[in-house]
Symmetry: C2
Amino acid sequence: MSGPSSAPGAGSWASSGPTLAETGESEILRRFLAASRPSDRLLVGNGDDGAVWHPGPDVDVVLSQDACVEGVDFVRRWSSPQLVGRRAVAAALSDLAAMGARPVLCQATLCAPGTARLADVLAIHRGLAEAAAEFGCVLAGGDLSAVDGPLVVDVTVCGEVAAGRALRRDRGTGGDALLVTGCLGGATAGLRRLLADADPATDGEQLWIERQLRPVPRIAEGLHLVADGVTCAGDLSDGLLLDAQRTAGMSGCGVELWLDHVPTEPGIREAIADWPALALGGGEDFELLVAVPQAAAGPLLSNWPSDLAPLTVVGALTTGSGVRLLDRRGGSEIPPPPAASRHFG
Amino acid sequence: MSGPSSAPGAGSWASSGPTLAETGESEILRRFLAASRPSDRLLVGNGDDGAVWHPGPDVDVVLSQDACVEGVDFVRRWSSPQLVGRRAVAAALSDLAAMGARPVLCQATLCAPGTARLADVLAIHRGLAEAAAEFGCVLAGGDLSAVDGPLVVDVTVCGEVAAGRALRRDRGTGGDALLVTGCLGGATAGLRRLLADADPATDGEQLWIERQLRPVPRIAEGLHLVADGVTCAGDLSDGLLLDAQRTAGMSGCGVELWLDHVPTEPGIREAIADWPALALGGGEDFELLVAVPQAAAGPLLSNWPSDLAPLTVVGALTTGSGVRLLDRRGGSEIPPPPAASRHFG
């Protein structure tokens, strides 16, 4: 089964050349090391037992880890190995963005079977390193392991935030305005298009596919939220419904979402009949969800820099518990679309 | 194929009970969260997008990542799921020990198929959390992912060390004395015994199996090395031959090892004909390798606390390059035993 010709990077996995088993571990690690970049922030980078950096004065350190698994998070025919590496770093950095942290370094564990092509593994590694640089940090080591199974790229990200200022999911209050960055539903629309495996895609569909394969972590948006005094945020890796419930639950609140206010990826409302399922239940848009007191929402919106992903009010935390979906602010309650977990159940 | 009855924890994987797919992601995560422990050091622990901690004054932060893969690093019939979790944390913490860092937190990605039993995954998680506590840190989140393949437990460890004092592999000098902590060869002897799959094991063999399944990271030893002013160390996860070459190479030196001086696990020299292959080429003993100027070796040894793993001189860095194995200090060169990579080639 071959993929759509329109998929970015499709077909660029190696079909020949040495495998990992033929290359040997020390040579693979030597190639990784040769491709590593220096960084002013790192005292020790690749090649030693660990990476070392000196945190800035009066900061907290933020750590997160996110796995990208073949057959679950990506399929080879959709994506080049380099894009797989890039996406793994971007997805992991979304967690730092959601904490308002500035990325310092990332590490990656790469599990691959001995039959994997060296060229593909080096391309994944290059994608990891280039994405780290693109988003302001550096790839500093990790682990390489054989596995008798699919590729696993597990990325750890480490960043810093002014002491006590990390954005937290448990800092919301009943009555808070709920906002999201960017547009929702694009990544899931792109995933559906990739799963349909038909070509060619329209230009609009190509953009959805880009949203799935080339997500952008909202680092600058997270930093601006901290600078603006915001205390409560999380990312939307599991979709608005689930992540809004999670934030509300951790804050001891309920939550109300207003469907008509939810910003959606251009074209989705027109082209996809069940677009609410994508905008509310679809994950992996890697946008941020923010809760602020009502009085702070206006100033936050009016001071929001135009070069950042737009910020939109989509609902409110409530003094109850659980989630209610309304057709619009002050409108009628409607049943929420299914919000499936990405992994189990 | 059933394992030896003597293997610690053998047979304790669940053969019934709900699977991950039957349980659902949110319930699994809820169970993980319920088992998490509070920590004074963590400002934000489990459940948010990342873990947050405040580094001590004037410290460097050390980060390392280490994967434990089913079929590569462990086999179910050898070990209980709880021991698999414990071992993954211990192996990862060995890298912090080798940097002289004090562990602060660890995170873990757990990849498991939907058919895995919930009880097993919770037991792995318990093993991770208990090992973190045993070694002075705390398990703070991570990731859970489906995989159509073997179990992968990828542990990230984060620690701190006084600024500029991290132990490094590139700080050796030609002429330095080379020392190791503890005894070598036990983990590989245990692995051989497990692979032979015969029972029962003798008491001595049981100890080797323990070395393979229950390694102890040399945290206290690493901290003492830093306090004593040592600057060059690494761990022996890949065996003395490979790790000594790596340390020498990064220091721009050669290395000379003296076989008769290498401390071996009790009973190995008597029971195993090719014991040098285990003591020099076998990995996973997770001991430390230390290089210090000759003048510092005496004071280091005489000040070495008796409650730490013993420290033994096993060779020296040289002004050349490459590795030479001598039968004893000042003795004859002998061919090194094969030192196979654990993974590829």
